[in-house]
Amino acid sequence: MSNYLNHTSGWKSWVFTLDHKRIGIMYLVAILSSFLLGGIFAMLIRTELLSPGQTIMDADTYNRTFTLHGAIMIFLFIIPSIPAALGNFVLPVMLGAKDVAFPRLNLMSFWLYCFGAVFAVFSLVTKAVDTGWTFYTPYSTTTSASVISMTLGAVILGFSSIFTGLNFVVTIHKLRPKWMTFFKMPLFLWSLYATSIIQILATPVLGITLLLLIAERTMGIGIFDPGLGGDPVLYQHFFWFYSHPAVYIMILPAMGIVSELISVFSRKTIFGYRAIAYSSVAIALFGFFVWGHHMFTSGQSTLANMIFSLLTFSVSIPSAIKVFNWLATLYKGSISLAAPMLYALMFIFLFAIGGLTGLFLGTLATDVHLHDTYFVVAHFHYVMFGGTMIAFLGGLHYWWPKMFGKMYSEKLAALAAALIFVGFNMTFFTQFVMGTRGMPRRYYNYPEEFTTAHQISSIGSYIMGLGFVLIASYLVYSLMWGKKAPGNPWGAATLEWSHCPSPPPHDNFAEVPSQDTDPYDYSIVKYDEESDSYHLA
């Protein structure tokens, strides 16, 4: 049967494709390659920390390694991961549209991504950046490392991200079928919408910030240079005005995926649909007003500190609303522990830890003690890895049969999920403990008493690495020899499963579905034993 994969062939049919599904797949390949690269740097960091003092690299190399790990994971992996790869594939199909509003802009966004990645990688092979992924001045303007190529790469990646966001907002506004009001949209689309708003409004500020940094380095413009009357803390304000909302660019789509998975695998309509939808928008808005909590110890005024602390706490309200609604959805549901659901449950557990430890850091008094320690590193990874990465894996396992029309091995998937869960907690829970005891971040050396904790952390990271190797193996295996996937193996009620075969045809829908459906009403699909699939009732 003709589908988007075999509709046309040859490399040109991919590189110049305007089909959102193919662009999504290309993004998927690109971000997974970046994840591999960033992951290798992570393993190198953990290996260096196996023992105090120099283990496999010197201090300078260590600085470059953690910078590249951070910059690659943030700019090349997490930010585009869910929106640009999974979102690109799924959004128009969920919406009942044939494509995104601007297919050429979509393709350009992907090319810009590749172009930006080239700049970032160029800085890797020349004199690798050693500033940390935040590029704080004045060090970033004085170091001899290739800061310009890395920041220019980040600016270009920013444009790519803006174009994706812009495309999604217009698509959601203008390409919905008439019957699908905003409150009949699946929650994943709500979260992508909120994400896109942040991408559009925050990313340009990162662009101008990094351009100012480049102007500072090349021309000595003096705006961030205290020697010339400039203010280095201004850089921090500029940087976090983007980069704090950016963590919501990373976590919001993850929350959207979890909303889908929890409902589908509990076979129960989502609890508190409107509350979850509104809380996505609330997080997006609040997220713009909390950047100052990164500067509690940078000489910010006490008043500003108090206001930012209060606002930071307010973000926990919409986040908690989501968690409670997911738990209420699970209650008395008919829960099936398929691989995507394992990740969704893992997300709730790990995100709860990540979110609650954020409150420790948002509290002024405790932040003075915890600032720039491993506690921050652990908190960040519980939210970004335990949250976004885990939800990404859940989404990947959920939509894999739709994308490629193949099923993977559930047993191996469960094993890999277990490895990742155990490995992750070993790696990062120990870092909470080390952080409270004063282990500072970004050090390649540490006192003897931290040795055991560091070693547990490193071994945990190897277990996680093993989990990823396993995932990569069975997914690639499924592409070649996997069982053919039915149209709707999970019994979901959103359009991409209920109205669209796996893999989808080139145009998604011959006719846009005209019927008014509730994305979480599971009575519309019935299980058919013969085809081991669900069909419209």
Binding site: A97, P103, A202, P204, L212, I223, G229, G230
Partner: protein
């Protein structure tokens, strides 16, 4: 498909939906542009609030008349652009071509005037950061306060009257020193520290704006060529409309830049 005209992409159901999508997309893009400049406006606000003396002093070196001239030029170009959009809607190709041509000419005039201003700043070393190295001669003086001709120092008055001391006060300065007159010379003496910050911000803001003017000119040229080939008419003029929106934004940003940089008190 017969119902699809050649200008309608396959994933839209009708031209109205396509037009509205394009327009919404452009407005969102303009929002990103405002935030891009917003960073520079924020930097301006921070430094002006913390160091008003730098701005009060340095802005005198900008030529108000040229700035005002450029403001008029850009406003006119916005008018010709808007006229062009209307002509495209009405399908009047000839007038459309003329108004686009006029807009381009005005854009070139804007960049020309800007070039004259940049050249004089360059010549006098009024640049950013470490390159700030003002040349100390008459030409470097502020545009609206020429250093007066040297006036002799008044001889000290010999005190008269009963309470006056018999000893004449010392001369206040060596004879022959130029008597200061005009804001300029006064300002010269009182030059605050880090004046280069102003010029850094000035060049960043006007430079980024100038880059946008250049991009706008490229877009107008593209629209001009497509109009010449007869691509636009009452049924389809989306690109003209969108480039028009962009051009108005470029104009609008200058309308903020002019008073903020040139008209400081």
């Amino acid at each position: 498909m017969s119902e699809h005209s050649k200008n309608l992409a396959h994933h839209f159901s009708n031209t109205e939906q396509q037009f509205e999508s394009g327009k919404l997309g452009m407005w969102l893009f303009l929002a990103t542009e405002i935030l891009l400049f917003g960073g520079l406006f924020a930097a301006y606000a921070v430094y002006r609030a913390n160091h008003p003396e730098i701005f009060a002093y340095a802005h005198q070196y900008l030529d108000r008349n040229l700035g005002a001239l450029n403001t008029v030029v850009l406003i006119c170009s916005s008018f010709t652009m808007a006229w062009g959009v209307r002509m495209a809607q009405l399908g009047k190709q000839k007038q459309l071509l003329w108004s686009l041509m006029l807009t381009l000419v005005l854009a070139i005039a804007f960049l020309g005037v800007k070039g004259v201003e940049y050249e004089s700043k360059w010549k006098h070393g009024l640049l950013w950061g470490k390159n700030y190295n003002p040349v100390e001669h008459v030409e470097a003086a502020p545009a609206h306060g020429i250093v007066g001709e040297a006036a002799p120092v008044d001889p000290p008055e010999v005190p008269t009257g009963e309470n006056a001391s018999l000893i004449a006060p010392a001369q206040t300065g060596p004879a022959g020193l130029a008597h200061t007159s005009g804001e300029a010379a006064k300002a010269h003496e009182e030059a605050p520290d880090n004046v280069h910050i102003f010029f850094g911000i000035y060049f960043l803001m006007t430079g980024l704006h100038g880059l946008h003017v250049l991009i706008g000119m490229g877009l107008i040229l593209w629209i001009f060529a497509r109009s010449y080939w007869g691509h636009f008419g009452p049924d389809y003029y989306t690109p003209v409309d969108l480039v028009g929106l962009y051009w108005h934004l470029v104009d609008l940003i200058w309308i903020f830049l002019f008073p903020l940089l040139y008209l400081i008190r």
